[in-house]
């Protein structure tokens, strides 16, 4: 009897405790749910580790915990002040940056130019994501508490890459990281293993909790920006659930459990046609703002793909409109034959006439004419054979399994090519295999995006990733760009020149010349235009998200770059 | 003449498989007297095992009862409720020794537990100790080792298993023991032991009468008092042991007697036919004598009507042209 009473009371206490635990960890009206920015479980928040988790991960939560000096606005290509107040190239080799006064870290310490210089120098000391800066930077030093100067190397003065640094390198607190360095004996291997569970940044949010299923941030109410912007971000919590498949994430978004999503949702307009309170930046095709060019790369050292006419024939055979419609479900305008985007910040360099004169478009007839012009004949199986007896195929075209829009794009490439008489077969290995094939040049054709970022240095970065030949080892060894091993002295020369030029007219003519070389040699074929980040929102719980008609912030998912301004303006529904 | 302990009249037991009927026992009549061993012989597939099963009154599907009577003294068991039959008759009044001792015992059950299960079924008031006492006593008296009781079946040799089964079957002193080829899978010395055991059981009146079924007609010489020869679901000849063995009337009996019999060990259910030719298809029985196909003395007359029993002296035979008793030459010629 007695035992029974004890047992019952234990059960009772447990039940009560259980309820106490479960009630409202994240009140819905104070929590913004986002997804599509982190796929695996979180591992660390260490910017030196190489693969930090959201929001430290590259290009998806740049101003939340740690901040960059300026905020990039992908719509107009401008750099907006944050920690940095202004920057100026005083001459071709000297950059002067002024920081805002009164910025402080989340532990109360002031943020000064010491911190910025220290951070940049970490990249010199260790292999980090921003170590490449030191290929172009000679020196960096402070001038007082709120100013610092970057000196470029006269032999390699790349202003574009150094400018990128202002919007994509997190500023780290010197007083904390010095200690971490010391604790780990200045051994980068050990420093990388540092998980940084409690990152101290300068931003408006702190890491609240994490598990393999989600990452939660909580607002830091003493944020320095409160006085500057006059208010704090509205959501008290930002939670990023980690879904294991697109399905789960998209369903949660559809149901309103996710407020802002960066996932690829095929045919998203069907959601609002169903009456759901869902929207994207544009309410019409292409729905998102295009920023990158996923492309088809050729192995330029494999016969017969080393023949430009063969590559160009393939370029003519591809039905770009179909890719935009079917693979991208209308999220892409039909791709043009240029490495310069005809939109946004780089539109000014796009040369319509040059593209018309030297470029290609979907035209199967022209493709076959081109093949015939180099003496190719159709074999009995319907596939062309070159004069030297080389059959055009079977070529393997490769992209990672699970990258759904790419998989469809390549299916269309294969089917299009088959129709004009080139045998292309799709191959979808796992991501590491694809990544490795790409780097070692172990492919016929492979799909990849050159320089997949929205950065101030575009479209230079794109050309550089696709065509710059210096430091690129031959096929078989690991390369880290220019997968096809393209080589052209004049192109290299132009690419070296562009980052040092300030005159817009010169720049335009240089880009046009570069683009003409690209169209002549066809080292890669742009297949579609893709947004840097998908941005779709559900107004069930939060409203006043920015969009084309209310463009108070760019579509940078409310948490990244200049897009973070949205966090101050969205409103809870009740 | 001793009194009858059991009587079978025109028993019909057929197999019904997928709508077709196999007439395995097709009108058999028999009488079993107190204290005697009745031998039933025939080649495989003649229905003798089915007859043995049917005599127990338990028709296990797909075997079905189609007519006739089985009378045990005054009880008519052929139409008895199966539950009552199993409770009151089987094991107690009629008991059975199955053909292959090899698989007749549950491999995962000790002899001891099986015996308890069997006896409890019939005498629920007995305690386990009493049962074991009684069984041990019985084993002792039949000079079988008591240790066996605590064994699993697979720990016993084939001959031993068969003897154990014989003892178990007779634990409740049944009036009739149906022995279905109890020796067919055994070597010669084990065969002798079993036959000796059955004789002992009879002498001590533990069982009153035995029906001994075998395909080896000569074997019956040492044990049976009377013999019935079975062919194609019917008894074709009946008589005393010496009559059947030494002066068969039916040509089939003669053939059974004269053929060399080589039972193959371990090939149950696949014994070679002991006589040339094969028995008729029991699904579609032809008119006339069922042996006609194989009979060396067949005449047109044989194939017309069903052959009835003919009395020749005190003997009965289903044959239009029985052999003479003296030299086996067809009497009609």
């Amino acid at each position: 009897m007695k035992r029974g009473v004890i047992f019952l009371s234990i059960v009772g206490i447990l039940v009560l405790a259980a309820f106490a635990f479960a009630i409202g960890e994240f009140p819905r009206s104070e929590t913004l749910y986002v997804n599509g920015l982190q796929w695996g479980p979180p591992t660390n928040w260490n910017p030196l580790a190489g693969n930090p988790s959201w929001p430290i991960s590259a290009g998806s939560g740049r101003e939340l915990i740690y901040e960059t000096q300026f905020m990039y606005n992908m719509i107009n290509g401008k750099l907006e002040p944050l920690i940095g107040e202004k920057y100026q190239w005083v001459d071709n080799l000297t950059l002067v940056v002024n920081l805002r006064k009164g910025v402080h870290w989340q532990d109360g310490e002031p943020l000064t130019s010491e911190d910025v210089v220290y951070t940049l120098e970490l990249g010199k000391k260790y292999s980090t994501g921003w170590s490449n800066l030191w290929l172009y930077m000679k020196d960096v030093f402070t001038v007082g508490k709120y100013e610092y100067v970057v000196k470029l190397k006269p032999e390699n003065p790349n202003r574009l890459v150094v400018t990128d640094m202002l919007v994509n390198v997190y500023v780290l607190p010197k007083h904390i990281w010095e200690k971490i360095e010391k604790d780990n004996n200045y051994d980068i291997k050990k420093i990388r293993e540092f998980v940084n569970k409690n990152p101290i940044g300068s931003g408006p949010y702190k890491l609240y909790s994490y598990s393999p299923e989600k990452i939660a941030l909580v607002r830091y109410d003493d944020y320095w920006g409160k006085s500057v912007f006059g208010k704090l971000p509205v959501p008290k919590y930002i939670v990023h659930p980690i879904f294991k498949s697109n399905d789960d994430g998209n369903l949660a978004f559809e149901k309103g459990n996710i407020d802002m999503s960066q996932q690829f949702v095929p045919q998203i307009w069907k959601m609002w046609e169903k009456g759901l309170p869902i929207a994207t930046w544009y309410d019409h095709p292409p729905y998102y703002v295009p920023a990158m060019i996923p492309s088809l790369w050729f192995n330029l050292h494999k016969h017969p793909l080393d023949i430009p006419q063969v590559r160009k024939a393939i370029a003519y055979s591809i039905n770009y409109a179909k890719i935009a419609q079917l693979a991208m479900t209308k999220y892409s305008p039909t791709a043009k034959s240029s490495l310069i985007l005809p939109f946004g910040g780089e539109k000014k360099y796009f040369n319509e006439e040059a593209v018309k004169e030297y470029g290609w478009e979907y035209n199967p007839k022209k493709a076959e004419e081109l093949l015939k012009s180099i003496g190719a004949k159709k074999g009995r199986d319907g596939i062309y054979v070159l004069k030297d007896g080389t059959r055009l195929g079977p070529f393997k075209v490769e992209c990672p399994y699970g990258w759904t829009d790419w998989m469809v794009s390549l299916q269309i490439v294969a089917q299009s090519a088959k129709k004009i008489g080139i045998d292309i077969q799709t191959y979808y290995p796992d991501t590491p295999v694809w990544a490795n094939d790409r780097m070692t040049g172990n492919f016929d054709m492979i799909m990849d995006t050159p320089a997949p970022n929205a950065l101030p240095s575009q479209p230079w970065s794109r050309f550089y990733a696709a065509m710059y030949s210096k430091d690129v080892p031959p096929i078989g060894q690991l390369a880290f760009r220019n997968w096809g091993r393209y080589k052209n002295a004049r192109a290299d020369e132009i690419m070296e020149k562009i980052p040092t030029v300030t005159d817009e007219n010169t720049l335009k003519s240089l880009y046009t010349e570069l683009d003409k070389i690209y169209m002549r040699d066809v080292p890669i074929i742009g297949l579609e235009y893709r947004p840097a980040l998908f941005y779709e929102y559900n107004t069930t719980h939060w409203t006043n998200f920015p969009n084309e008609k209310n463009p108070y912030a760019p579509p940078q998912i409310c948490t990244d770059g200049a897009g973070i301004r949205a966090l101050y303006e969205i409103k809870p529904k009740k | 003449m001793k009194k009858l302990v059991a009587e079978v009249e025109n028993l019909k037991a057929y197999y019904k498989v997928k709508g077709r009927i196999l007439k395995a026992v097709d009108g058999v009549s028999l009488g079993l007297r107190d204290g005697e061993v009745l031998g039933i012989a025939g080649e495989s597939g003649c229905g003798k095992s089915t007859l043995a099963m049917s005599l127990s009154g338990l028709f296990l599907p797909p075997l079905k009862y189609y007519g006739g009577k089985i009378k045990l003294k005054d009880i008519e068991i052929s139409k008895m409720d199966r539950k009552l039959l199993r409770k009151n008759v089987l094991g107690k009044k009629i008991s059975f020794i199955p053909q292959s001792a090899m698989n007749a015992l549950n491999p995962t059950l000790k002899i001891r537990n099986f015996v308890i299960d069997v006896l409890k079924e019939h005498e629920p008031e007995l305690s386990e100790e009493e049962i074991i006492d009684r069984v041990e006593e019985r084993f002792d008296s039949l000079s079988l080792s008591k240790r066996v009781i605590n064994s699993y079946p697979f720990e016993l040799s084939g001959g031993m298993k068969q003897r154990v089964i014989t003892v178990i079957s007779t634990l409740m002193n049944p009036e009739i023991l149906l022995a279905d080829e109890p020796t067919s899978a055994l070597d010669v010395s084990s065969q002798h032991q079993i036959i000796k055991l059955i004789k002992t059981l009879l002498e001590r009146r533990i069982v009153k009468s035995v029906v001994f079924i075998t395909h080896e007609l000569p074997l019956l010489r040492h044990i049976a008092d009377r013999i019935a020869i079975m062919y194609a679901g019917q008894i074709v000849e009946r008589g005393t042991t010496s009559q059947i063995i030494f002066s068969p009337l039916h040509p089939y009996t003669k053939m059974l007697m004269s053929s060399i019999i080589t039972p193959e060990k371990g090939m149950k259910g696949k014994e070679l036919p002991v006589v040339s030719g094969s028995p008729p298809n029991l699904y579609e029985i032809v008119a006339g004598c069922r042996f006609a196909e194989r009979c060396p003395y067949v005449t047109e007359e044989c194939k017309i009507n069903e052959i009835k029993f003919h009395k020749i002296g005190d003997r009965e035979v289903r044959c239009l042209h029985p052999l003479t008793e003296r030299n086996g030459i067809n009497a009609a010629k």
Binding site: P266, T329, Q415, T426 | -
Partner: protein
């Protein structure tokens, strides 16, 4: 001949075989009648069934019905080849282990058990991820070489029960060598079991292909029922309610497997009369 007659009499065998043959023949004859390329992209993403596309279109805008029929052919092909390989390896190992006995048996049987215990599907996933060429034949071979242990086990059991039979002893006395004995005295006696095991292996081969393909490890450039499922899952057919993308392959795989299992049950009842319940 008599075996065949008794097989035909088994309703289960008959039903199973007719379903299987019907599916197989459809998949073989259809391409002769209709020359459409199953890879042709005739529509847009997940168009619902219409008069033009009876089963709608899939994520690539392809006609699901045509894909389904070609997919069935692929799946059956993989199943047959994998089944054949598994049966060959399994029979060889089973017969040798069962007949030779002793140490050979010990070694072979231990190997067999090893492969039975380790989840073979995991090995299958690892092996097929390591394939550079995702061709149909390779896939079938890999499935075959990971699924033989079941056959080996069954054949070994049958063979060792035969080992002490009279006719084998007689063959030995007549100077036949082990190889000849295995070939002429054992194989014929276990052939019915081998065939039954083969049927089961075909079924399991089809399932393995479907499982692998569903994880994205299937053949490239060929439609199989498994790849159809994989695409449906990858392209969110379940969430978007495009049932026509995943229902046909599901039914297809299940029907083929069911027909083979039913066939097998029918045969089992004939070869093991006790199961007939008579």
């Amino acid at each position: 001949m008599e075996l065949l007659r008794s097989l035909i009499k088994s309703r289960k065998f008959l039903i199973g075989t007719s379903i299987f043959l019907a599916l197989l023949l459809t998949s073989l004859i259809f391409p002769l009648v209709n020359s459409s390329d199953p890879l042709e992209m005739v529509g847009l993403l997940y168009e619902p069934p219409s008069a033009e596309h009876v089963l709608g279109t899939d994520n690539f805008g392809r006609d699901v019905l045509i894909e389904f029929i070609y997919g069935m052919k692929t799946s059956i092909f993989v199943g047959l080849v994998a089944g054949l390989i598994a049966t060959l390896i399994g029979t060889t190992i089973g017969v040798i282990a069962g007949y030779v006995g002793r140490l050979t048996d010990n070694i072979l049987n231990s190997t067999t058990n090893l492969f039975l215990v380790i989840p073979s599907f995991v090995i299958l996933i690892l092996l097929s991820s390591s394939l550079k060429s995702r061709s149909l034949l390779f896939l079938a071979i890999i499935i075959g070489i990971t699924s033989w242990p079941w056959t080996a086990r069954a054949v070994r059991a049958q063979t060792s029960s035969l080992r002490t039979r009279e006719h084998i002893n007689m063959a030995k006395l007549n100077g036949m060598n082990n190889f000849e004995i295995m070939l002429s005295e054992i194989l014929p006696y276990v052939s019915s079991y081998i065939f039954m095991a083969f049927v089961l292996q075909v079924a399991s081969g089809i399932l393995s292909e479907a499982g692998l393909s569903m994880l994205g490890l299937g053949p490239s450039d060929v439609v199989s029922l498994g790849t159809m499922l994989s695409w449906a899952l990858l392209y969110e057919a379940v969430r978007t309610g495009a049932w026509w993308a995943f229902f046909p392959p599901t039914i297809g795989i299940s029907l083929i497997t069911f027909s083979l299992l039913y066939m097998n049950t029918g045969m089992d009842e004939i070869f093991n009369p006790r199961l007939r319940g008579e």
